[in-house]
């Protein structure tokens, strides 16, 4: 297993996540997809750390830890937004939410 394998896996994961974020209509699924993209990034952090010049410095795990924490907070905010949107529009279908434009 070399660095390239991990990076390819990360890219695939990112693309899956991006595709999901761009194409899915359900706001919750879009949140899932964003989590997948974040995890792809985390995978890259770990891979670059593991195959980098100084594996003893633990930079990768630390960055990943931070990212997971930020992602958790983000998901909390995102889910709260989804609930607020649902309460307001009675739907979480993104195709029907077009108020984010200039009237």
């Amino acid at each position: 297993m070399t660095l390239e394998h991990y990076l390819i896996l990360g890219a695939v994961l990112f693309c899956v996540g991006l595709l999901g974020a761009l194409t899915r209509r359900n706001a919750v699924v879009v949140l899932f997809s964003i989590e997948i993209m974040l995890n792809a990034a985390n995978l890259n952090f770990i891979a670059f750390w593991r195959f980098g010049e100084n594996p003893e410095a633990l930079q990768g795990p630390l960055f990943t830890l931070f990212t997971i924490a930020v992602a958790a907070a983000e998901v909390a905010v995102g889910l709260a937004l989804v609930i607020a949107v649902y309460r307001h529009f009675k739907t979480v279908d993104l195709e029907q939410l077009d108020t984010l434009k200039e009237e």
Binding site: L22, R25, L94, E95, L97, D98, L100, K101, E102
Partner: protein, 648 residues
């Protein structure tokens, strides 16, 4: 005498003219004008006193720089020399008397204030002309005099003849003025200065120097060669101006017509001032004539004028017209005097003539006034009985004019004849003949006026004191001036040396007395005004058809030119119409094709539409859908990534 007081001689009447132009009351305006003229007269007499103290060919100049062109400065200057002094004194003195006389003559005229405004303007121009130490200033004053004489001659502009006479005077003198102007420009070109006296660098200084040297010399100012030929051309052009102004042949035709003006105007214009301006110009620029050797042109022109005008005067019936032709004739004699004898001879006759001719005109005015505006001598007669003072004064003037021995005219005419005898016998005989005719026509006129009984309807009456007093003063001068001033004038003014031949004196006495006797013999025992006049033959009555001749040549040519130019005008109008149509078509093509289609529709509206659709296209992605935004972000990220990849 300083610059201010010298300038005031001319400026006082000018000021009076400004003031009277704003006044309505004729009597007050007359007062202002007369007071100004009086002040001017006093100053002129002072100046005369100073000038008379100088020797001949001495002068004082007062120059103020006026305008500077390149390195040449044109001065606005005055000169004081015996010539200026005597002219200024004479003009202001005679002018003052004429002003006073006008006060009586124009009393009933509604436009008296305006009349005095014009008179003052005229006097101002004339005095400026006399005092000017600069040909350009002289020319400007010359033109002021021209304008003022036009205004004065056509003063009674409700009379068509008066309006026509004013125009004629203006246009005919203008022909001469063009020559004058060209002469000034030529003089400036070859000498680089317009100042008359300038400490050796003035025009007249240069001309005198030229006469001494005899051949041309280079002007330091302009680098052009100033030769006797140039001086001759300049002098002839200046003489052309003098010919127009002084009514010399062939430009004399305006002067008799100018009689349409009020009589004081005739006196002012014909006796003392305007016609004297031409003679004065020749006298002033005499060095040019001497340097160019053109004195004889002046003399011959004068002699021809003197004879022709004297002949015409024989056949006239209008009292003022006779005097007008007499003036033309006498001006001719002055020119003869200038040509053959130099400045002193011409100026002497000008001076004496100014007094006795002013006297005759004012006397004629008094007679006309007394005879209820009648000017035809056939309808007068017997005036001796009713207008004693006027008649005596008039006879004094006549005596001076016919050169009756020991009157002023006798001395001055004698000098002219003596000068002519010394230089050219034909001119002498012509002048003598003119003098003889003068005596004949004046005798004729006096017989018509004074003898017999009155042939008009209303009885004539004597004029008021304000008119007769100037007559008496002038009469004294007309009789005495010649004897008094003869010696000093010849001391102070330059002239040619010539002998006084006894033969000449005999001739001048014989022509004067013989002329009177001849006139007496012709008209003795005739019923004047009823019988046919033996001297009023057709060519004389018709003034040798000068007017008709001009009408047939110049007038016809002018009419032809008018027709041609009218046709040209038509052509131009036609061309103009074509161009207008073209321009209009072009402009509408531009308006519709260029402006409306190209600019409005294509450029302006088109650009607006394009911008609007662009803006619309740009706003399209902002559709409010979250996934759309995300897609754009993704595309942007990919593009950015590709750019980073591509650059590195």
């Amino acid at each position: 005498m300083n610059t201010t007081s010298l300038a005031l001689i001319a400026l006082l009447p000018l000021l009076a003219s400004f003031i009277t132009s704003c006044m309505k009351c004729g009597r007050r305006a007359a007062g202002v004008a007369i007071v100004a003229m009086f002040g001017s007269c006093v100053l002129a007499l002072l100046a005369f006193g100073q000038a008379w103290g100088m020797g001949p060919n001495k002068h004082v100049t007062f120059d103020i720089p006026w305008l500077t062109v390149g390195t040449t400065t044109i001065n606005f200057g005055f000169v004081l020399d015996p010539l200026t002094g005597v002219m200024a004194a004479m003009v202001t003195f005679v002018g003052l008397l004429i002003f006073i006389y006008s006060f009586g003559y124009m009393k009933d005229d509604k436009r008296m204030a305006r009349f005095f405004c014009y008179l003052s303007l005229f006097a101002a121009g004339m005095l400026g002309l006399i005092l000017a130490n600069n040909l350009l200033l002289l020319f400007m004053c010359w033109e002021i005099v021209g304008v003022a004489s036009y205004l004065l001659i056509s003063f009674w502009n409700h009379k068509p003849e008066a309006a026509a006479a004013g125009k004629k005077a203006f246009i005919v003198t203008r022909i001469g003025d063009i020559g004058f102007l060209i002469g000034i420009l030529l003089a400036f070109k070859y000498t680089g200065t317009l100042t008359l006296y300038d400490g050796g660098n003035g025009l007249l200084d240069l001309a005198s120097a030229l006469k001494e040297v005899g051949h041309g010399f280079k002007s330091e100012e302009t680098g052009t060669l100033f030769t006797p030929a140039i001086a001759a051309i300049v002098s002839l052009l200046l003489f052309l101006g003098a010919v127009g102004k002084s009514g010399q042949l062939p430009l004399h035709v305006w002067l008799p017509d100018a009689m349409e003006g009020p009589t004081p105007v005739s006196a002012l214009i014909h006796a003392a001032t305007m016609v004297a301006a031409g003679v004065f110009l020749v006298a002033r620029t005499m060095p040019f004539f001497e340097a160019g050797g053109t004195e004889m042109v002046v003399a011959w022109t004068g002699a021809a004028t003197a004879l022709v005008a004297a002949f015409i005067a024989l056949g006239q019936y209008d009292v003022k017209r006779i005097l007008a032709y007499s003036t033309v004739s006498q001006l001719g004699l002055m020119m003869v005097g200038l040509g053959v004898g130099g400045v002193a001879v011409g100026m002497f006759h000008l001076l004496t003539h100014a007094f006795f001719k002013a006297l005759l005109f004012l006397g004629a005015g008094s007679i006309i006034h007394g005879c209820h505006e009648e000017q035809d001598i056939r309808k007068m007669g017997g005036i001796w009985k009713s207008m004693r003072i006027t008649s005596i004064a008039y006879l004094c003037g006549t005596a001076a004019l016919v050169a009756f021995p020991f009157t002023s005219g006798f001395f001055s005419k004698d000098e002219i004849l003596a000068g002519a005898w010394a230089s050219s016998e034909p001119i002498f005989w012509i002048s003598a003949a003119a003098s003889l005719l003068t005596a004949v026509y004046m005798t004729r006129q006096c017989l018509y006026l004074f003898s017999g009984s009155y042939r008009g309807e209303h009885a004539p009456h004597e004029s008021p004191r304000v008119m007769t007093v100037p007559l008496v003063i002038l009469a004294v001068f007309a009789l005495a001036l010649g004897a008094i001033s003869r010696g000093t004038i010849f001391d102070k003014l330059p002239h040619v040396q010539y002998d006084h031949n006894d033969f000449v004196i005999v001739v001048s006495v014989v022509v004067a007395l013989g002329g009177i006797a001849l006139g007496w013999m012709i008209y003795r025992g005739r019923k004047l005004g009823v019988d046919a006049d033996p001297l009023a033959i057709k060519p004389l009555r018709e003034k040798f058809w000068f007017d008709e001749y001009y009408a047939d040549t110049v007038g016809k040519l002018w009419s032809l030119a008018a027709v041609i130019f009218e046709q040209l005008n038509e052509l131009l109008v036609f061309l103009r119409d074509i161009f207008v149509a073209l321009a209009r078509g072009l402009s509408s093509a531009f308006a519709i094709g260029g402006d409306r289609k190209l600019i409005d529709v294509m450029a302006f509206d088109g650009l607006c539409d394009w911008l609007r659709s662009l803006g619309y296209a740009v706003t399209r992605p902002q559709n409010g859908f979250l996934s759309g935004y995300l897609r754009l972000i993704a595309i942007g990220a990919v593009v950015l990534g590709l750019m980073v990849f591509w650059i590195s």
